[in-house]
Amino acid sequence: MEIRVLILLLLPLLLISLFAPNPTVALYEDQVGLMDWHHKYIGKVKHAVFHTQKAGRKRVVVSTEENVIASLDLRRGDIFWRHVLGKNDVIDAIDIVMGKYVISVSSKGSVLRAWNLPDGQMVWESFLQGSTLSKSFFSAPLNIKIDKDNVVLVFGKGCIHAVSCIDGEILWKNELSSESSDIQHVFQPLGSDLIYAVGFITSSKLVIYQINAKNGDLLKQSTVDFPSGFSGDLSLVSTDTLIALDSTQSKLVKISLVNGETSLLPRDIADLIDGFSGMASLLPSKLTGMLAIKINSYIVFVRVSAEYRLEVVEKINYPAAVSNSLSLLEGNYAIGLVQCSGSKIHLTVKLDSDWNSDMIKESIELGHQRGIAEKVFINDYIRTDRSPGFRALIVMEDHSLLLLQQGEIVWSREDGLASIMDTTTSELPVEKAGVSVSKVEHNLFEWLKGHILKLKGTLMLANSDDIVAIQEMRLKSSEKNKMTRDHNGFRKLLIVLTKAGKVYALHSGDGRVVWSLLLPSFRMSNTCHHPTVLSIYQWQVPHHHAMDENPSVLVVGWCGFSLDSPGILSFVDSYTGKELYSLSLTHSIAQVIPLPFTDSTEQRLHLLIDADGLAHLYPRTDEAIKIFQRELPNTHWYSIDGEKGIIRGYGLQYSCLPGITDEYCFGAKELWSIVFPSESEKIIAATTRKLNEIVHTQAKVLADQDVMYKYISQNLLFVATVAPKAAGEIGSANPEESWLVAYLIDSITGRILHRVTHPACQGPVHAVFSENWVVYHYFNLRAHRYEMSVIEIYDQSRSDNKDVLKLMIGKHNLTSPVSAYSRPEVIVKSQSYFFTHSVKAIAVSLTAKGITSKQLLIGTIGDQVLALDKRYVDPRRSINPTPSEKEEGIMPLTDSLPIIPQSYVTHSLQVEGLRGILSVPAKLESTSLLFAYGVDLFFTRIAPSRTYDSLTEDFSYALLLITIVVLVASIFVTWVLSEKKELREKWR
């Protein structure tokens, strides 16, 4: 009886809470980190400067290829601070001056900045002017003093600047490159007031400038002709000697600058090294009194003495990294060498004066997955026994960073993850019978204790200790980190491909690296000198037939940098992280098309289009060809030529080129083409629907019981073009001469289904296509604001099906197949809204069945991800929606899209350098997984319509249990009482 009453009381409450219009999806403070993780990276290190003199915190300042300046803790490798400069602000050099500032030169020598060493605050910033855009963007900060002011010399844009370290003021400036000179070195001989700048004017002319260090006056300019020409390599050996390489790369040329006189002295390398043949090159390491020459497969160290005696001191095998020479207290110089052999890494530190004895010789086991050492930076310290010690910072082939000290790896950072090229996901293995689950929940007592604690938290009875315990318990929940598939599909493997050619599998629970593989087929080898990775695809997803097999992924790349270089395919097991096999192709790869067919082992058929327009089928099996032959007449593809502004569509032919008997190769025939006039339109963006997107229903029921049919086709292509004048940056064109045209094109027939011009608008365009709508973001020059437009496309040919009578007697075309060759009857609805932010990436949330409403996932300029309900970008919004429209969920029209602070899915975090957003459906319909990557990685779960199909993480089961117990108890009590009362009544 009481239960019933309780339910009756609760029912309205429950209903109210379910349907209450509450758009906020934000987290509470204590929910941060429960289902999201954020990892910070810096990228591949280019330069490193140690700061270890003072007793305080030891640190190393690095600049990276992702344009990051960061200060790392030398003890643990953590980031003290970091700054991600813009995409075009490439860092050329960094240094530490005055022991407290980090200075950086970026943007081809035009921006000089100083950062405070302890906290990374910017102290000053100077813009260096230069008339010529010199090719070299070399800068050589070195310490001299003018009027007790610390001065740093910067070379950039063809000028030498002397800049004060205190405030960044430019003390003097000397423009050197009147002609197209290529300055290689700027240096100051010890104790001299002169500054030398040495470079090449042409390949056969050397130019030397002498500049007064005090005021920047050009004292002398001399050019020296060298008829046989230079190769361009120039190495500074000492303050009056440089060594260059001649154009045949077989002679060393000594350049000495004694007393302002320049003399050239060539010498054959063959005299120096027996059996030398081929080409030599100078390593860029800055060594003092030494020279490192790379010859074929080894490196030769040559000591250069004052009277130009060249002496070979050592010859080592090539895959080795050489550090700059490090000056020690006693006037000696130390040089670090790192060699790799097998899974071991050998670090050697030698003194230049005494080459035969090693200061340090260490071998460290490293494993095979990091490749060879690419760079090494060494730093000295004094050991507890007062002997000199060295530590080495090593950049590996996979872009990871290691610190070596005392023969062991102190720390390592997986900074390859800062440059992700492509991502895909894989399911985890199914839980086997042998694997015990009970370990997770410890025992019943622990479980109960946990829930009692949670209950205390819910009832606000918990004290601060309890709250700490609760928080810890929630964050450490081992449930999310298990290595097996879960019921809700939250646990997945994120398989990412990085620029270095390494594949990582990250666990979606906490982002840890499950396995990593430096792809052997994408490493430099004799057959392929410049392998580049492109993209990653799901190759085999065991589903029904082959449950016992592991899933695998396909990595596609080129052997070279251009479209016509031969392709490489590599197949990697998603669970073990082993390369199954790899293929070096004879043809190139311009396009990879995953086909919607799989063979009996669930391998997905892929069509690789080469640069000549031939299609190649993979896997190369008879079964695949049999499956594909059936579908060949219905297979079409298209290519977009952005240069010429042509989109072409192709069908396939049964045979390859005449004369080639390759049954896996198919020729293409051009079926349609669209030519954008080059004087008025330029293609800047194109996007299609995601292949794995699932659409729940084709019909959209309006509030007035009317039905609209979505035009759902996998083959819709959205293309945006702009006026060629407006193709540059925002502000480079007038509103009158810029426009943006959006197209919806059927990629089978080339039909333009919709074409709309936005006057006075320009790119960059970011677009996302889903179901029957496309949303794109661009800049409106007349309104001076960013805009987002939506186009929804509906099928009119099915609108007759609304008649129920016709449906009943079967006169409908719902089951008839749709042909692309029919003339489509579509209607299009569109609307534009202002949007405050500029956008870096845009994606849409995907769910398992496509029932849950969609959210746009917008990567904002602040490197955050904003989840915007699709309802806001609905073309059917009107100023005064009718009550029935309101019931349908249509909001009143506003001119701009709202940015609700709570709807940032990254809450307070920033995904620095955001480049891409990936949305993966979980098994639970309400939930979608989101992975955002850039320099940082961020993962979270989003529920666009809130988690209507599951209880929240912090649901108090104990409260439920107690309620039930209390109810049952009270039923018994009342029953007993009523029995007694009844008995009394009867006895009365």
Binding site: R4, L11, P12, L15, I16, T24, Y28, E29, D30, G457, M460, A462, S464, I467, I470, P633, K644, G651, E670, L671, W672, S673, V675, F676, P677, S680, E681, E736, W739, A742, T749, G750, R751, I752, R755, T757, H758, P759, A760, R782, A783, E787, S816, P817, S819, Y821, S822, R823, S830, S832, Y833, P892, T894, D895, P898, I900, Q902, E979, E982, E985
Partner: protein, 301 residues
């Protein structure tokens, strides 16, 4: 108590946010006011573009074989461009001529109007090749020069359709030519209606073309709406208030009425049971009877 504190801060944040929304509404209204002025000023200039007439789609049906008299078209603004076709993989050959008037606008833009099309019929040998196409279910391809003024050396826009889609009684074809000034962006070619999927082999009764041509220009996008304050504030709020009572009594209180109904039904069923119990039991007050009925029901369980 940290949890409750965080919840409280979020509540404060919510209030702050609403305040922010109110403020931002007020400020955005000011901005949009200025923009409207802007609009008036540049309104005329905005129209000055190469594609001035957004609704230029001019369907023109030209019966095949009928040559138009060219005497009235003799002005120098007349242009002609040819349609070429190919059967399957064969080379392209002329198949007809489009002629149109080139209208030059005062601002320099040029557009085509009055498109006419004269289709060349199939020769006997072409009929044979076409029959072969029908048999193989292969593509019939057509192309147009991408620029109607000088077609030399320029790219062609191409379109194709399965030949079986064209055959009805006659050969029915439908061209949609997408134009941008004097440039042809694309031509979409196909049957005027649907092309049913299992494409059946059917020879045309008459080997003559029924050609439909549509010339399409671009559409201008609707401008982003710009609002002034009154739409936002007063009017809307009042109207919303007025609409409120329109909800029916049932719509408003169903969540109370349904449980009430359940309670009543429950009581009814109890009352139905009661007489049976009363027959065997002692007389008593109404309330007690209900309770006893409950008790006995429980006992029976």
């Amino acid at each position: 108590m940290a949890i409750s504190r965080t919840r409280k801060t979020s509540a404060i944040a919510l209030i702050l946010f609403f305040f922010f929304v109110v403020v931002s509404i007020a400020s955005s209204a000011f901005e949009s006011d200025e923009l409207l002025q802007d609009d008036d000023e540049f309104g005329l200039e905005g129209g000055v573009r190469a594609t001035p007439n957004p609704d230029r789609a001019s369907p023109a049906r030209s019966p095949s074989q009928k040559r138009f008299s060219s005497s009235d078209q003799e002005s120098d603004s007349k242009v002609q461009f040819s349609l070429e076709h190919a059967f399957g993989d064969s080379d392209f050959a002329p198949a007809g001529t489009f002629s149109a008037r080139l209208k030059t606008w005062s601002h320099g833009g040029q557009t085509l109007t009055k498109l006419r099309f004269s289709r060349d019929g199939f020769t006997e040998s072409q009929k044979e090749t076409f029959k072969k196409l029908l048999k193989d279910d292969d593509f019939y391809r057509i192309r147009l020069p991408s620029n109607v003024l000088n077609s030399n050396g320029k790219e062609y826009v191409m379109s194709s359709v399965k030949a079986r889609c064209l055959t009805r009684e006659n050969l029915d074809e439908h061209f949609v030519i997408h134009m941008d000034g004097v440039n042809v962006l694309a031509v979409n070619y196909g049957s005027p209606g649907t092309c049913h999927y299992p494409r059946l082999l059917k020879l045309p009764a008459k080997w003559s073309f029924n050609s439909y041509t549509v010339l399409k220009g671009g559409e201008q996008a609707p401008r982003a709406p710009v609002f002034t304050e009154e739409i936002f504030g007063g009017e809307n709020g009042v109207s919303e208030l007025e609409k409120q009572p329109e909800k029916s009594f049932w719509a408003k209180y169903w969540m109370y009425l349904v449980p009430l109904g359940l309670v009543v039904m429950n009581a009814m069923s109890q009352a139905m049971n009661m007489p049976e119990e009363q027959a065997g039991g002692q007389p008593g007050s109404q309330g007690q009877a209900v309770q006893r009925a409950q008790g006995s029901a429980a006992r029976r369980r």
